[in-house]
């Protein structure tokens, strides 16, 4: 039976919520519908950055990561809201609930996108109908638009959902790749970032088709194992299965934030560290997790970025501990140049209920002492 399943052509959906944060705000307050809306980290600060925006705002040239002042100049009528994560999370939960009513094989990738394996949910020729149903349910029940990509694997489904927005349904068939996927510029391929695109262009690869036809050996020379992977994907091959548990394999939880202006003021830096540690603590608590490494990221005014991490003796979860070790890293590695951005990440994450450490007769006293050092801080 397992063999049969492997050989069977799979039908994978990639559901991608359109302008998710902005759409949720519009569903929440219908007065916002049809308006140029942006969600920005810190609307009061001049340097706040656009997290996402509605299509109406995008039409005026507003883009994600754009500073607020620039967006306002392009689109003076722009309505700006602070992000309301609780709202987005509950919308996301409701969306995934609808998906999981169709099949248990749903893999959430982030708050606003996920894969479904619908191979066993009916004949392949009915797949489009099924996608329409899902799209309509999400629209009618949650008042949220989404795009759905349909393909025989995750990579193609992801590319497909990106092709028509908003409220698109796109099918990518392997035999049609030469006309659908291959003409796309290489930057648009999922998995190709700026750096990779630069390298590929140096190899005269400008479209996904160029990549598909490129010699694997040459690609590996430049990109290592990733070169082979990208070439496979460009040819429409991706064996990854839809794994409902993948979301639980989180390895790290972090938070980073740009300062309103570059600074060497210790007070300001400390204040930001507290905010970041609090964020990380909140996320850890929500996931019922603890971590055993801590990482600090410092981006300087000249955009030079360093990350430094430390493996810890014990698991941490409280903001006091997170802050204590993050500060230790800061003191050790900050070269006193002006800082633009800071990030704190707790790594080697484990779900609390999965960890248990058997104490040792000959070392338990030391362990108890370690405990004290941290809590006395």
């Amino acid at each position: 039976m397992v063999v049969e399943h492997q050989n069977k052509r799979r039908v994978i959906f990639h559901i991608d919520m359109n302008c998710f944060y902005a759409s949720v705000e519009m569903a929440y307050d219908s007065d916002l519908k049809g308006k140029a809306l942006a969600i920005a980290g810190n609307p009061e600060e001049r340097k706040g950055i656009i997290v996402t925006s509605s299509y109406e705002a995008r039409a005026k040239g507003v883009k994600t990561t754009m500073p607020l002042w620039q967006a306002r100049r392009l689109c003076p009528e722009l309505v700006v809201l602070r992000p309301n994560f609780d709202r987005y999370r509950s919308a996301s939960k409701a969306m995934f609930k609808i998906l999981s009513e169709i099949t248990p094989i749903v893999q959430p990738v982030s708050i606003d996108e996920g894969y479904m394996d619908v191979t066993d949910c009916g004949p392949p020729e009915k797949a489009i109908e099924l996608a329409e149903n899902i799209q309509n349910r999400i629209l009618h029940e949650l008042d949220l638009p989404c795009s759905i990509g349909i393909a025989p694997n995750k990579f193609l489904a992801k590319m497909a959902s990106d092709m028509k927005k908003p409220m698109g349904i796109t099918v990518l068939r392997k035999r049609e790749l030469s006309t659908t996927l291959w003409p796309l510029p290489i930057e648009e391929m999922y998995g190709v970032g700026n750096k990779t695109a630069e390298k590929l262009k140096k190899m005269e690869i400008h479209t996904i088709g160029d990549l598909a036809k490129k010699d694997v050996y040459e690609l590996k020379q430049v990109l290592g194992i990733n070169g082979e992977r990208l070439n496979n994907r460009a040819n429409g091959n991706d064996k990854r299965s839809v794994d409902p548990d993948a979301i639980y394999d989180f390895k790290s939880i972090g938070s980073s934030q740009t300062l309103p202006h570059d600074t060497i003021e210790e007070e300001e830096i400390k204040k930001l560290m507290v905010i970041l540690a609090t964020n990380v603590e909140r996320r850890l608590k929500r996931k019922q997790a603890v971590g055993q490494s801590i990482q600090l990221m410092i981006r300087y005014a000249d955009r030079k970025t360093i990350t430094r991490s430390k493996k810890l003796q014990m698991f941490i979860e409280d903001k006091e501990d997170i802050l204590y070790f993050a500060k230790e890293l800061l003191e050790l590695h900050w070269n006193e140049e002006p800082i633009r951005l800071l990030g704190i990440t707790v790594q080697d994450i484990q779900e609390k209920q999965r960890i248990a450490k058997q104490l040792d007769l000959f070392t338990y006293e030391k362990e108890a002492q370690n405990e004290k050092v941290v809590y006395s801080y």
Binding site: L359, L361, F362, Y364
Partner: protein
């Protein structure tokens, strides 16, 4: 060499001696069993060079004749075949005969086996122990001491000394102590003839396990004596010799907490059964962890939880409880082992906090001590 022997007697002796024989040994002749025939009786010997066992069958005992038609001599027989042959022979008596070419004939009724023997001269001499520094202990007490401690030895070779039981005789008190560093078991008994100078030694847990299997539950005395690197247990018709472990046993007494913050008294069986039930949902993956919460003066709550399977919770009413409230997690396996070793109806459990060892003793203060290190959970 020749003798005729009661088959049951021979089988019993063979079974004891086989405990020391291993098919994997560096000295080839040790895969065999030595049979030594004297007018007064027969001695069987097995050894894997760590443990050596001698079992003696007297020709005559309490007026019964066990062995007859004795012609003195000795031989070594393949332990792979000899025991099975004797067990399956048809009659109540067995005749064994060896000629000068080391050919051995085993007869019983109409069955006749011809085996190739080996020269007993080539079998290593067991070290002769001086028995001046020795003391005696009733067999059943020795068995108790072993059973109450040996399960706690380490099974890992990372700290070899912990794979043994520490035996110490001081000021008329004999103490057995074993720890794998996650739990510790110890028992103390007074010894009557206590003027003996007996060095503290560490006996491999494996040796004591085998010894316990061989010894009968009687009140007859076992004589224990020690040289530099060997310990001898001498019971009636049985010598059990074991190698000792080299090295210093860690000082454990100072690691045992002297004060406690929470003390509870409970029925041993009840506590054991509750933990056993909770352990059903606390398998392997997470060290068999169960959690104990105190609830008021007379109730404790035991819970188990396997993320993928489910949870279990059970309240048990204890005899009494004093001190601070407590939430502690520990290995159900260690707790079950410890409670089984208590051997009394009521136990006293003393805690000193969720991160520190706790102690389980019989409520009547008999010096059996079981100590368990908790598991740190989040």
């Amino acid at each position: 060499m020749k003798f005729i022997i009661q088959r049951d007697q021979l089988i019993a002796s063979i079974q004891d001696v086989m405990k020391a024989i291993s098919s994997r040994t560096v000295v080839p002749i040790l895969t065999g069993m030595k049979i030594e025939v004297k007018q007064h009786g027969i001695t069987l010997t097995g050894s894997d060079s760590d443990i050596s066992i001698e079992s003696y069958i007297p020709a005559e005992e309490d007026g019964n004749v066990n062995v007859e038609q004795i012609e003195e001599g000795s031989i070594v027989l393949q332990a792979k075949y000899f025991p099975d042959i004797v067990r399956k022979l048809p009659e109540k008596t067995v005749e064994i005969e060896a000629d000068e070419n080391l050919k051995v004939t085993i007869r019983s009724g109409k069955a006749e086996f011809n085996l190739n023997g080996q020269d007993a001269e080539e079998y290593p001499q067991l070290p002769k122990l001086q028995t001046d520094d020795s003391f005696e202990l009733p067999t059943d007490l020795l068995k108790s001491l072993i059973k109450q401690t040996v399960f706690a030895v380490s099974t890992m070779e990372t700290r070899p000394i912990l794979t043994g039981v520490h035996i110490k005789l001081e000021e008329g008190n004999l103490t057995f102590t074993a720890t794998d560093s996650h739990r510790l078991a110890s028992r103390e008994v007074p010894v009557s003839d206590s003027n003996t100078a007996f060095p503290s030694v560490v006996v491999p847990g494996k040796s004591l396990n085998e010894l316990n299997k061989i010894l009968d539950d009687t009140e007859e005395p076992v004589e224990i004596s020690v040289t530099n690197n060997q310990i001898l247990f001498r019971a009636k018709n049985l010598n059990f010799l074991s190698r000792l472990l080299d090295g210093n046993y860690p000082e454990t007494s100072r690691l045992i907490p002297e004060q406690s913050k929470t003390v509870l008294y409970a029925k041993t069986k009840e506590l054991l059964n509750t933990i056993d039930r909770a352990s059903l949902l606390a398998k392997e993956e997470r060290n068999n962890v169960v959690r104990l919460n105190t609830q008021g003066d007379h109730v404790i709550n035991i819970t188990g939880n396997s993320p993928e399977v489910g949870t279990v919770s059970e309240e048990i009413v204890v005899q009494s409880m004093e001190g601070e409230e407590l939430k502690i997690s520990f290995s159900s396996k260690y707790m079950i082992d410890a409670l089984k070793a208590i051997e009394y109806e009521e136990v006293k459990v003393e805690f000193t906090g969720a991160m520190r060892p706790f102690i389980i003793r019989p409520a009547n203060e008999d010096p059996i001590l079981q100590l368990i290190l908790p598991v740190r959970t989040f």
